[in-house]
Amino acid sequence: MCDCECACAEPLKLGQRVPDFELDTYEPTKGDFGKFSLAAQIEKKRWTIVFFYPADFTFV
């Protein structure tokens, strides 16, 4: 629990539905900016791998 503006009240657990989230993106295939949302993935019936890393210009 925290007092920040989280999208969730408790940490996510395996087997639970992930609350919807949206990200501004850079889309290398288009050379343009875009949006990514979990809701759109669910609508398209696609699996999603969310891959966090600390910072650009570092190793992955």
Binding site: P19, Y26, I49, D56
Partner: protein
């Protein structure tokens, strides 16, 4: 494969653009690069470090219904093994089709030995189930 990868850091989409187009190591990386400057999404997945404002090396597998099925987090100084990530991802897709099976640790591909109907009869007999 019916799957999309989105990479996420707290950098802005502008920085993503600059890095992607500058770093030659990324020339073949075509995943959308998500920007989480406030750490909102990182907090949701418990990978946002309040002290540094960065996100740890977390990988999360979400099925087409939006259910979280896989979670792995490494500290800053340890990179991930993409082969293991893909192994787990493939196993999750396989298991979504074969709901009465389980994939043991050495499972890699469709056709590899699985545990069928793991239950009371398999207690103490996993070796036989895997080698029988």
């Amino acid at each position: 494969m019916g799957c999309d990868v989105v990479t996420v850091s707290t950098d802005t989409k502008f920085t993503h653009l600059a890095w992607r187009e500058h770093e030659k190591e990324l020339a073949k990386v075509n995943y959308p690069m998500g920007s989480d400057p406030t750490g909102k999404v990182g907090r949701m997945f418990s990978v946002y470090d309040e002290g540094s404002g960065l996100t740890l090396r977390g990988t999360f597998i979400i099925n087409p219904e939006g259910v979280l099925l896989g979670s792995e987090v490494n500290f800053y100084n340890l990179g991930r093994n993409i082969d293991e990530m893909m192994r787990k991802f493939k196993a999750n897709i396989y298991l979504a089709r074969k709901t009465n099976e389980a994939c043991p640790s050495k499972w890699k591909d469709d056709g590899d030995k699985t545990l069928v109907n793991p239950g009371a009869k398999m207690v103490g007999k996993v070796h036989e189930a895997l080698n029988g």
